[in-house]
Amino acid sequence: MSFHAPRLPWTRRRSQVIDPDLLLLERLRAGDESAFVTLVSLHHDPMLRLARTFVSSHAIAEEVVQDTWLGVLRGIERFEGRSSLRTWLLAILVKRARTAGGREARSIASSDSASFVAAVDADRFQSSGAWGAPPEAWTDDLEERIGARALRDQILAALADMPERQRAVVMLRDVDGLQSEEVCQVLDLSPGNERVLLHRGRSRLRQALEDEIGAIHT
């Protein structure tokens, strides 16, 4: 992933402009090959990243994505538009990725939320619970001061370090901009679980950035 604006279809769009996905879908149903490739290119990266949280290799993740698109083509008439197209796509992907990864049985409870991990290291608080080593304000021009690439690499490294479900939730919600209900739908999570995973993942991201930014300040 690179690090620049603007993003088109995967942004946090909620305005009621015409969904480009639906236009493409219509063209696809009418037999337009290029509409298919465009649709794939719009969703490929998020799908691949999500698939990768279920399977052990990049190659298998790519197979899962291809397999998902073939399934989408075969079921194209069944899409009713009750959810957004991407939610539908990602839910199909997750089903296939789970089968491919053989991890269906491994629940979130056992892999991701086994123990409490503090958002901020307990050492940084006094015994009263007030800050002992408080965070320092970041400059407004982080991207110029630290470099967009260094910040991006830090975020990607922190994401790569997360337990799989946590990573999936943070990517879908904060990188790809899905609504939390959509995240729950795609990953088959309860809202409570989604919030916990999101909280933990976000805390790790912030900490990773603070580590990078603090190192430059001092």
């Binding site: 490739v37 290119s41 291809q66 958002a119 619970g129 800050w131 965070p135 919030r195 976000r202």
Partner: protein, 86 residues
């Protein structure tokens, strides 16, 4: 005698565990008010909150990789296979 209702106290160490829910708007109204109040009186926690906002802004700016020409070709073939079978 009656007490004026000020939001009950909350420690910074608890606040950082609630910041994500605070931003999601999923906290119970009472906790939302306690945090609102806390941020007005606690500069370090309000810095923490801005850092979290900045973190999410940066995460939201990661953009997807473009599809490589080889992948485009592969997906074109997926499409043609499907056309043939249908």
């Amino acid at each position: 005698m009656r007490f004026r209702r000020t939001p009950s106290h909350i420690w910074c160490q608890q606040v950082v565990e609630m910041v994500s829910d605070y931003l999601e708007g999923t906290l119970p109204a009472r906790d939302q008010r306690r945090l609102d109040h806390h941020f007005t009186i606690c500069p370090p926690c309000s810095i923490y909150l801005s850092q979290m906002r900045e973190t999410l802004r940066l995460a939201g700016k990661l953009v997807p990789e473009d599809l490589s020409p080889e992948m485009e070709q592969e997906f074109t073939e997926v499409y043609r296979r499907w056309r043939e079978e249908s």
